[in-house]
Symmetry: C2
Subunit: 301 residues, 2 copies
C-alpha cells in the first residue's frame, strides 16, 4: 500500500502513471484542501476533483482542471447576465460540485469525497487532508493580502509575493493511520508551499513521515517550476526556487528526491541535504513518460 | 398603471398578451413566493423566473418553466452520478438561479429580482410578494404533510389533498403602495389557493383591493383547471372546483370575473356572488387569444 500527497496538477500526472502499474485499491491519495472555497454557490475542492477525474479518466488533461470535452453553458450565461465566474466551471463539472455541496449538508468532506469516488467507480482512496474549512492568503507587495484564486486568476499570478499564509486545521480522521499502514509515501511534483506543506504541517504528519520511506518528485526544472506559481511562493517563504529549495523543505523526513536530468549538476548540493537524489526525466509529456517516472518512484527507497 | 397578481403558468400567458398592448413600464407584477426554496444548492423562485422569462421572451412556453431551447447537461450529469434533481434545471436557467443565490447574500429578494429584471432589459416591475422565507405544505390523506414540489413532482399530484398550509409572511416593502398607485388590479388565471391566496392574505392587501377595480380571469373550464392541480387544492380548502369557487374566494374585493365561454350557464350563479361576470375565450392557445383576453381585461371595470 502506498500513500501519495497531492495538489492539483503535477501529482495527478504522476498518478496517471502510477495507476497503470500499481493496484488501484492499494493507492491512497491525501489531497490538499486549503484552496477549497465556495464559488458560484457551490463548494469547489479543485484539487480533490482533479484527483477524482484523474482516476476516473474524466480529467481535462490540457488544463488539469475539470472534465475533458465539457461545455460551459451556465458559465457563459452567467457572464452574459453580469455575474462572471471567477472559476470557469463546466456544466458536467458543476454537477460534481453541486453533488459535493449537497453531500456536505449531512457528511464531512472526507465522507462526501468517499461517496463521490465510489460513485465514479474509483478503487483508490481519496482523502481530503482536513474536514475543516481553511483559508489561504497570498500577501503581496502591491495589494496586501489577497485570496489564492484571486492571485492566480484575477491578478494572473503577477503581484510580488511577500508571504503565503494558511490557517492551521486538524487532519481528517484517517490520515495518520493511512500513512502508518503504507509501505511508502510519495510526494508528487506539486507546489511545495501551497499544496504539500499544508498537508505536512498537519498535526502528527511530519513525525509520521520520519518513520516512513518518503520519495518526492521535484516540480522544478532549473529555477522554474514545470507549471504554476511555485517559484514565487518558494522565494516568499525563504527557499531557493529550484530542486535544492524543494530538498530543504522536505529535509526532515525525505529519503529520496527525484530531480530532472537537466539538473544533474545539483546532485552534489542536494546530497548534502537528503540521503538520495536521482536524476530522471520528470516532465511527463506522454503516458509512457508518466509510467516510467511512476516505475522509478515505486521502485526507489 | 396596472398591477397583476401572478403565479407561474396561467398568468404569464395573460402577461404575454398584456405586454403587447399596454406600456411595459406601467406594468407591475406581484409574484407568489411561497413555493420558493433551495434546490441543488441554488435558490429557486420558479414563479418569479417564469415572469422574468416571460417579459424577456426567453420563456419555454411549452412547460412554462425555464428557458426555451435550454440544455440540461448539469441536470443529466447529476442523475448519472446519483444525485437526480427534483426540479429539472436547465443550464442557462441555472445561471439565473446562481445569480439570484449570490445576490441574496447582499440583497433582499425584492432587490435581487429588481437587479435581474434590469439586467434582462425588462421595464415592467417584478415584485416578489415577500422578502421572507415561507413554506407551503400539502396535507395529504396518504402521506401526511408533504412539500409542495414533492406533491407535484415526486407524487405527480396524485395524493388526496386534505389541506393546503403556508406560512404567514410580511409583504415586501413596495406592495401596498404599488396597489394604491394602480388604476386596476388584475388577477391572472393562476391557481387561486397556492398562487393567489398567499398574495391576497398578506397583511393589508385584501383591504387595499377593496378600494380598487379588481378583475380576475378564472383558471377553470367547467370543473377542471386549465392546467395544474388547482382543483384538488380548491376542494381541500372548501371551495367548489369551478369558476363559482373562484368567485367565492375573491368575493370580498372582486369587481369582475372573466370565465370561459363554455361556462356561460354559471353566469347567473356567479352574479349572486360578485358584481360582474364576462364569458369569453380564456384558453389562450395563440398570441392572438392572449391579446384578445388582455384587451378584455384591460377594458373591463
Amino acid at each position: 500500500m502506498i500513500t501519495v500527497l497531492s495538489g492539483g496538477t503535477g501529482t495527478p500526472k504522476l498518478i496517471q502513471g502510477i495507476k497503470e502499474i500499481y493496484p488501484e485499491e492499494e493507492i491512497n491519495v491525501i489531497v490538499n484542501t486549503v484552496e477549497n472555497n465556495y464559488f458560484s454557490g457551490v463548494y469547489v475542492a479543485a484539487d480533490i476533483d482533479t484527483v477524482l477525474y484523474t482516476f476516473s479518466n474524466l480529467i481535462n488533461d490540457e488544463t488539469w482542471y475539470g472534465i475533458k470535452d465539457d461545455t460551459f453553458i451556465t458559465n457563459e450565461r452567467l457572464a452574459e447576465i453580469g455575474t462572471p465566474e471567477l472559476l470557469r466551471i463546466g456544466d458536467q463539472d458543476r454537477a460534481t460540485k453541486i453533488q459535493k455541496t449537497l453531500l456536505l449538508k449531512e457528511h464531512t468532506l472526507s465522507e462526501a469525497v468517499d461517496i463521490q469516488r465510489k460513485n465514479l467507480g474509483i478503487k483508490a482512496k481519496i482523502i481530503p487532508m482536513s474536514d475543516e474549512h481553511s483559508e489561504i492568503k497570498i500577501e503581496t507587495e502591491e495589494y496586501g493580502d489577497i485570496e489564492f484564486h484571486d492571485f492566480l486568476i484575477k491578478y494572473q499570478g503577477q503581484p510580488t509575493v511577500t508571504k503565503v499564509k494558511y490557517s492551521e486545521v486538524n487532519p481528517s480522521p484517517d490520515i495518520i493511520k493511512i500513512i502508518q499502514d503504507s509501505d511508502k509515501v510519495i510526494i508528487g511534483p506539486s507546489n511545495p508551499i501551497t499544496s504539500i506543506l499544508p498537508i505536512i504541517s498537519l498535526k502528527g504528519v511530519s513525525e509520521e513521515l520520519e518513520n516512513k520511506k518518503v520519495i518526492a518528485v521535484s516540480p522544478f526544472i532549473g529555477t522554474s517550476p514545470v507549471s504554476g506559481p511555485a517559484g514565487k511562493f518558494m522565494s516568499a517563504s525563504g527557499y531557493e526556487t529550484s530542486s535544492i529549495g524543494v530538498a530543504k523543505i522536505y529535509e526532515s523526513f525525505l529519503d529520496t528526491l527525484i530531480i530532472d536530468s537537466s539538473d544533474d549538476k545539483m546532485i552534489e548540493e542536494i546530497e548534502k541535504i537528503i540521503p538520495n537524489v536521482i536524476a530522471a526525466n520528470t516532465i511527463m509529456k506522454t503516458i509512457n513518460d508518466k509510467k516510467e517516472l511512476a516505475k522509478l518512484v515505486l521502485n526507489s527507497d
